[in-house]
Amino acid sequence: MIKKRQLPFSLAINEALDLMMAKDKRVFVIGQGVKSPWYVGNTTRGLLKKYGEQRIIDTPVSENAITGCGVGAAIAGMRPVIVHPRVDFLMYGLDPIINQAANWNYMFGGDAPVSVVFWLIVNRGGEQGAQHSQALHALFSHIPGLKVVMPSNPYDAKGLLISAIEDNNPVVYIDDRWLYNTSCFVPEGIYRVPIGKAVVRKKGKDITIAALSCMVKEALIAADSLRKEGISAEIIDLRSAKPLDRETIFTSVKKTGRLIVVDNGWLTCGLSAEVSALVSEKLFKYLKSAVQRIALPDLPAPASRTLEKAYYPGATLIVKNVKQMLRKGK
C-alpha cells in the first residue's frame, strides 16, 4: 500500500502559495515578515528565493497602507495575498478591507472585481494576552462583499487558499497558529476546497456539533469521548464563516434535532449567534432542544496560563454541554 503523503499545516499553505505563484504571474505575497520564519512559520519557506523580492514583498509596519496597497494592486488586475501574521495588528488596516475591497464591485455597479486574499493568522494562547490572540471572523462575516474562510486542517488549508486566490472577490482567510503543527494527507498539485461549503467530519444521529477552525479538533475529541458513553454526535466543519453552508447544517439538524455551535470567537454577535439564529428561524419545528452556543466568553484574552485555561473552551466543555442537553431532552 502506498503511504499517503502527510504535510503539516504550515507547509500546506506554503505549497498552495508556491503552486499558485508558479501558475499565475498575477499572484504575489505582501505583508509583514514574509521573509521571516519567526513571523509566518514555514508558510513562505523558499518562496523568496524562487520568486524574488518583486513578488514576495516584506513590508515595514504600515498595516493600513500595505493592506490598501494589496487592494489597489488587485484593482489594477493582480491577485495579491496580503498577510497579517497577527490579526490584532490589522486593525489599522480595516478601511481598505471594509470600506474599499468589500464595497468596490457593488458600488461601481459590477465589472470591478477585487481579487484579493487577506490572510490573517490568529495567535492565541502562550500567555500572549489580549492583543496577540483575537479571532475576528465575526467582524468580517458581518460585512457584505467579503467571504470568510477558516480551515481546520492542512488539506483544507491548501485547498481553501487556492480557492481564495482564484476567487474574483475579496476573501478573508483566517487560520490559527494552534493548527500549524497538525499534519494530515495533503495531495500534491492544485486542488480546490470550495468556499461556502461545509463538510460532515463525522456522522452521528443524536446531536449536531457545528464547529470551525481549531474547534473542529476539539469537537472530534468530544465526539470520541461521547461515543464511549453511547452518544452519537455528528460533527460539521463549517470551513466558511461566510457564506455559511445552510444546506449542510440544515440537513444535519433536521436529522438530529439538536445543535451546539462551537466557535473560537466571542459569544455576543458572534458566528455561533448567527448559526443559532438561522437554525431557530428556519428549523424550529425540528428542534428537540434550544440551540446552544459554546464560544469565548465576552472578555479580552488573559495572559496567565491559569486564566487561559478558563478562557478557551475545549472538548471537556463540549462533552458536558452535550450531555446536559440530552438529559434535558428526555
Partner: protein, 327 residues
C-alpha cells in the same frame, strides 16, 4: 506663448476646463430642486488641477479620485453621459446607479475609481503603482486627494512605502484650504503641505493650482520622472473651491453658515482658473471671441444632452438590489 504648448493644445485645455465648469454648474439646479439627491461635491474653481495633471498622462495611465472627482474623471477622458447619469443615480450611470457622484469609474481610460473616505484611495493608488512595477509596465499612477487627507496617517505610510519601492506614483494634493468646514489654519501648524514629502526623500513641489501653465509644466516633470523610474513625486496645488464642501453653497450644517469669509471668496474669484485662461487666450490672440463662443455653445449642448439622456434613463430596479455584490 507657453513653451512647448501649441495653440491647439491651449484651446484644448481650455475646452476641457470649461466642460468641467459647465458640467459642475449644470448640477446646481437639479440639486436645489432635489432631482439630484446624492451628495455632490462640486469642483468648480479646481478645474485646472484635474485638466493640467491629466494632460500629462497617457490614456492607459491610472488615476484614483476622492469625493470631489467629477473633474478628475472628465479630465482623464471618462464618459460624460455616464457620469451625469450616475449623479442622477440612474442605471445608465458609470456605476449603474449604485455609486452616485462619489463613486466614479471608467476603466477604459484608466480612471480606476473614486471614493469619499478621506485618504482612502491613496493606498489603492499605491497598490496600482506596485502592480505596474511588478508587471514591468511603463504606466504612471496619480492619486488625487485633498488637504484634509494630510491629516490621515495612511498618507505618510504610503509616502514611505512608495519611496522605499521607488513606485511610479504622483501624490497630487489639491489644497483648497478647507477640510469640509475647517480652515487649514485650524488643521495644521505648517500650511505648506508639500513639505511632508521631504523626510521621505520624495521630490516635491508646491504649485499654483489655478495656473494651468504651471500645473502642466510640473505635471509633465512629475510624469517623466515616474516614467523613468525616478518616482514617486509629490505635488501640492494651491487652489480654492468656489462652492461649498458639498452642494452649491457653504451651507453644510443645515442652517445658513457662511464658513468662509466673503473677502477671501472674492479674492479667489479673481483667480478663477477658467477665467484666467480665457483672458490669456483672448489677450494673446490665441483664439478669437467668436471661436470661443462657438466652443462654449458646443460644450453647453453636450452637457444639456447628457442631462436629457440621464433623465430619460430609468432608476435601478428594486428586483436588482442584490446584483453586483460579488463578481
Amino acid at each position: 506663448m507657453v513653451k512647448g504648448t501649441s495653440k491647439q493644445k491651449l484651446v484644448q485645455l481650455y475646452r476641457q476646463m470649461l466642460r468641467i465648469r459647465f458640467c459642475e454648474e449644470s448640477f446646481i439646479d437639479p440639486i436645489l430642486q432635489s432631482i439630484i439627491k446624492c451628495p455632490v461635491h462640486l469642483c468648480t474653481g479646481q478645474e485646472a488641477v484635474a485638466v493640467g495633471v491629466c494632460s500629462a498622462l497617457e490614456k492607459n495611465d491610472y488615476i484614483f479620485g476622492n469625493h470631489r472627482s467629477h473633474g478628475h474623471y472628465l479630465a482623464k477622458g471618462g464618459d460624460l453621459n455616464k457620469m451625469v447619469a450616475e449623479v442622477y443615480c440612474r442605471v445608465s450611470g458609470c456605476a449603474k446607479g449604485r455609486g452616485g457622484s462619489m463613486h466614479l469609474r471608467d476603466v477604459s481610460v484608466g480612471m480606476l475609481g473614486s471614493a469619499p473616505i478621506v485618504a482612502g484611495t491613496i493606498s489603492l493608488a499605491l497598490g496600482a503603482a506596485l502592480a505596474v512595477k511588478i508587471k514591468r509596465e511603463k504606466k504612471v499612477v496619480v492619486s488625487f486627494f485633498g488637504d484634509g487627507a494630510a491629516g490621515e496617517g495612511v498618507l505618510y505610510e504610503a509616502l514611505n512605502f512608495a519611496a522605499l519601492k521607488k513606485l511610479p506614483i504622483i501624490f497630487a494634493c489639491e489644497n483648497n484650504l478647507y477640510s469640509t468646514h475647517m480652515s487649514i489654519k485650524e488643521c495644521r501648524v505648517s500650511k505648506n503641505i508639500f513639505e511632508i514629502a521631504k523626510p521621505f526623500s520624495i521630490k516635491t513641489w508646491q504649485v499654483d493650482g489655478n495656473n494651468i501653465f504651471k500645473i502642466v509644466e510640473k505635471a509633465k516633470n512629475a510624469v517623466s520622472l515616474c516614467r523613468r523610474g525616478e518616482g514617486p513625486v509629490f505635488l501640492e496645488f494651491l487652489t480654492y473651491r468656489l462652492h461649498g464642501h458639498v452642494g452649491p453653497d457653504d451651507n453644510i450644517q443645515g442652517t445658513h453658515t457662511d464658513i468662509r469669509p466673503l473677502e477671501e471668496i472674492n479674492r479667489w474669484l479673481k483667480k478663477d482658473p477658467v477665467l484666467l485662461l480665457k483672458n490669456y487666450l483672448l489677450n494673446k490672440n490665441v483664439v478669437s471671441k467668436s471661436k470661443l463662443r462657438f466652443l462654449e455653445t458646443g460644450v453647453d449642448r453636450e452637457i444639456k444632452k447628457a442631462h436629457k439622456l440621464a433623465l430619460a434613463s430609468s432608476f435601478p430596479k428594486k428586483s436588482e438590489l442584490n446584483k453586483y455584490l460579488y463578481d
